[in-house]
Amino acid sequence: MKIAVLIKQVPGAESALPINSEAIGVQEDQVSFLMNESDSYALEEAQKIIEAQGSGEVVAISLGPDRVQKIIREALAKGADRGIHLQSEASGLVDPLTLAKQFAKVLESEHFDLIFSGLQSDDSGMGQTGIILGELLNMATASLVVETELGENSLKVKRELEAGWFQWVTLTLPASISIQSGLNQPRYPSLRGIMGAKKKELKIVPESDFIVDGEKQSIRKVFVPKTDKRTEMIDGEPDAVVARLVEILKNDVKVL
């Protein structure tokens, strides 16, 4: 059993997010980067499956600049067997189709039985990369997984639907699934793990090995939404109040 886990390095939820001078991203040196939350659950789930099997390997894979090696090492410290770093200078805001194609180029030859990814990244939040990758590699796919049960050449997953509904789906292997946060308790690396991680394989794949056709989207501008709080008390006769309210809704709020 070979499981790939796609992990992404994203700005932490509590990190400061100053916008960079080109206004197309954040000022990276001011940002605290960490492993995307749902990815850490995906990693834990993969490790639990391999531990229950007693054999196999978990491969932690990330795409990005050299800083992403920090989270690959973290995954190795937690117990992943090896890591692959797809070296790319692109920021975290590449469209999911392009990303999936890039991953597919590198991962095709690995013949993974399973590909796990977090439900969505905490920065761009597209939530598609793992699923598109599965399609590109001709794998069964499922999103929003909250429970897994490994069978004979199959994976039964519980998917979260809307309005409190759940669905059990059985996927024939190979399969690619995206995992929802909270289905397990991600572990803290032991010191043995941290020390051992230094000796584990971390393969670096240069960008030239996964060039794909042009991106399908580009960022025009990143900005902090303007918040504006105004209160206007409307006094007077009911007719005048209604007239003023309609005027505001038409001209200021623009909903009429």
Binding site: G12, A16, Y188, S190
Partner: protein
């Protein structure tokens, strides 16, 4: 006095006793020798005055329970005197007509002393036997849910009984023997007690009197011979292992600080202590020094609020585990049983606030807190097993450089509206003011940071802050047992100190103080670090600021463990409070200074909850409220947070306030 046959029998028994003692003591020291970090036995020679002071001065018994301590001192002095008495009695038995300076004033004084002390010891030990077996003082019991092994529970009772009976009979028969001697040879004005007893034997046949004197001699000294090999199995060994423990104990910069781990050393396979042999030798010696008095248990904030931890249970379990497995363990066998199964449960280990009270009150110099800290290192670094919320704190420290998990770019928000100098702009300053994470992120902590910097401004101190360049000192990480994370945090800060050439630091928090001053020194970075209360108190003494006495109501001061017991500072905050009192008084809680009671947040307990038992901070706040003071002064951010919580929960919001000493001083300076 003795016949030839008696003499031969006695010498054979002495040889047997000493032979058996050699074997048993050998096992005991081999067991101690199985520990890691060898004891520097040479220190015992260098530190003999300390050992003697403990042994004869009995000075360590009075921090708590002074009355019982006093009775103990009398028993101990009497027993010490009996070492000489036993030797003299052997001469008396072996050399016909021998009397120790019989008519010399020294001999008279000797007999008078022995006579009086025998009675004192008999009364004292009877009291101890009464207290343990009849009145059953609850202080000598250990409550649920603390783990106390079955062998410890039954063994302790048995051993106490044996020790009590041994002393009573040994001293008792010596005393009765003296009375028979008087009955046979005529009264001795220097043995009033024995004289009185001799009246009972007046009508006895002289032959019976001689026989009786022999029987008493044999019982008194025979019991000693029987007891000597038993020492390594009895808590009574404390009488020499206790002083020895003080003589060879590790020199610590601060009670919770010990050596760092070299993570580059690939030969180290075990981090922290999981099994008994992982503990340092001095910690195994602790088990032999323990007299099981439970002073530490009385003091422990976790035990007294009903949690699973009792520091004395650690030592008692350790001792009975050693007794039970002494042959195997001393022979070097791997017993392969983690301490969490028989010595200290994991929850108990997490319940420790590292307040250091147990170490402070222990009359034999034990450090149960160090066992806990070392066990935590194993649980965190080897097993990855610790409270879930502690993991959250670790991740936050790792990702954001502070256990609050707030943005490292927001460390300067407390400075808004003030003109706080920053190191990155100023480049050089006499002192670095270390606000710490609480001082930067907690709302009350920010108030205190603002108060301190305003005082500095008024006193004209040349200072600067690191602001966003500061990162957590790693205190909580180290106390929880995450040495690796601690070193990661420490290295970042040490780099900054080197970059700016920082030598002198004033910290707002006593935890930062301890970590920067002592833990960083273990890493090789020696810094001159003081607490804000110490620094501000010096400013007052030097006349740089003159706070006006303005407080008209009573103030009580809650000692921060990491300022008091961990750094020995009890006076500076009190002096500051005194400086701003006009009509009010500084009123002390029952437990103060060396015996101060923890707020409950130390040792990482700030970051996770132990749900067993009551809240430590409520207990402490009630004690503060009992003083009727209207202000509870603190000198630590954690204490401040815990006391404020206590204030709200116990319903004192209307009539009491919690304030840092710096805030009180600033109030006294406000109209200048």
């Amino acid at each position: 006095m003795l016949s030839l046959i008696e003499k031969i029998v006695f010498l054979v028994l002495v040889a047997g006793s000493l032979g058996l003692a050699w074997v048993n003591f050998g096992k005991m020291f081999k067991a101690i020798g199985r520990g890691s970090r060898p004891i520097q036995w040479g220190k015992a020679i260098r530190n003999w005055p300390k050992g003697l002071a403990v042994f004869l001065g009995q000075q360590t018994l009075f921090k708590t329970r002074p009355v019982v301590g006093g009775i103990h001192a009398v028993v101990a002095w009497g027993f010490t005197l009996y070492i000489a008495v036993n030797i003299i009695d052997v001469f008396y038995g072996f050399i016909p007509g021998f009397h120790f300076f019989s008519e010399h004033w020294f001999g008279q004084l000797y007999r008078l002393f022995v006579d009086i002390f025998s009675l004192f010891v008999l009364i004292g030990v009877k009291y101890f036997v009464f207290r343990r077996f009849i009145s059953k003082d609850p202080k000598l019991e250990t409550k649920e849910p603390v783990l106390l092994s079955t062998s410890a529970r039954t063994g302790m009772k048995k051993d106490s009984f044996i020790v009590g009976m041994f002393i009573l009979m040994h001293i008792g028969f010596r005393f009765v023997g003296a009375s028979f001697e008087i009955a046979g040879h005529g009264p001795d004005p220097y043995q009033p007690g024995a004289n009185l007893m001799a009246l009972l034997w007046q009508s006895f046949d002289p032959v019976i009197i001689v026989y009786a004197e022999h029987v008493c001699w044999w019982l008194a000294l025979g019991l000693i011979l029987a007891f000597i090999p038993y020492f390594p199995y009895s808590k009574h060994a404390h009488l020499f292992m206790g002083p020895l423990n003080f003589m060879v104990r590790e020199d610590r910069r601060s009670p919770a600080v010990f050596e760092t781990i070299d993570f580059e050393d690939e030969k180290i396979e075990q981090f922290g202590s999981s099994k008994l042999e992982h503990l340092p030798q001095s910690q195994i010696l602790d088990a032999y020094a323990c007299i099981m008095c439970n002073r530490c248990q009385d003091a422990c904030p976790a035990y007294t609020t009903g949690k699973e931890l009792s520091p004395s249970a650690i030592e008692i379990n350790k001792r009975y585990y050693l007794n039970e497995h002494l042959n195997d363990f001393s022979a070097g066998k791997d017993l392969d049983e983690p301490m969490s199964k028989w010595m200290l449960t994991e929850e108990a280990a997490w319940s420790c606030t590292t307040c250091g009270f147990c170490v402070e009150v222990c009359p034999v110099g034990n450090e149960p807190m160090v066992d806990i800290l070392r066990m935590r290192q194993d649980l965190v670094m080897m097993e990855s097993r610790f409270p879930e919320d502690a993991m959250d704190a670790f991740n936050k420290m790792e990702n954001y450089g502070n256990p609050w998990g707030l943005s490292p770019q927001e460390r300067e928000t407390w400075m808004e509206g003030l003109n706080v100098p920053l190191m990155r702009e100023k480049k050089k300053a006499d002192v670095l003011y270390w606000a710490g994470c609480a001082g930067a992120y907690d709302n009350r902590g920010k108030d205190i940071s603002r108060a301190v910097s305003q005082i500095f401004d008024k006193a004209g101190v040349d200072y600067a802050c690191l602001g966003n360049e500061e990162t957590c000192t790693g205190d909580s990480a180290r106390r929880i047992g995450n040495e690796y994370l601690f070193q990661m945090m420490a290295m970042q800060n040490i780099e900054k100190f080197e970059e700016y050439g920082i030598k002198k630091i004033v910290t707002q928090c006593p935890h930062c103080l301890t970590t920067l001053k002592h833990d960083y020194a273990e890493l090789g970075t020696e810094l001159d670090v003081v607490h804000h209360s110490q620094f501000i108190n010096d400013l007052v003494k030097e006349g740089k600021i003159a706070p006006q006495p303005s407080i008209t109501e009573d103030v009580t001061y809650h000692d921060a463990c990491y300022l008091g017991r961990h750094n020995g500072e009890y006076d500076a905050p009190r002096e500051l409070i005194q400086s701003v009192l006009s009509e009010g008084h500084l009123v002390e809680m029952d437990r103060n200074k060396e015996t101060g009671f923890c707020c409950g947040a130390g040792g990482g307990n700030m970051w996770y909850e132990i749900n067993t038992g009551d809240r430590i901070n409520y207990e402490r706040f009630k004690e503060a409220a009992d003083t009727k003071a209207t202000t509870v002064a603190t000198a630590c951010n954690f204490c401040n947070i815990m006391m404020e919580d206590g204030l709200k929960v116990t319903g004192h919001e209307e009539n009491m306030v919690v304030k840092d000493v710096a805030e009180l001083v600033l109030e006294g300076l406000s109209d200048i």
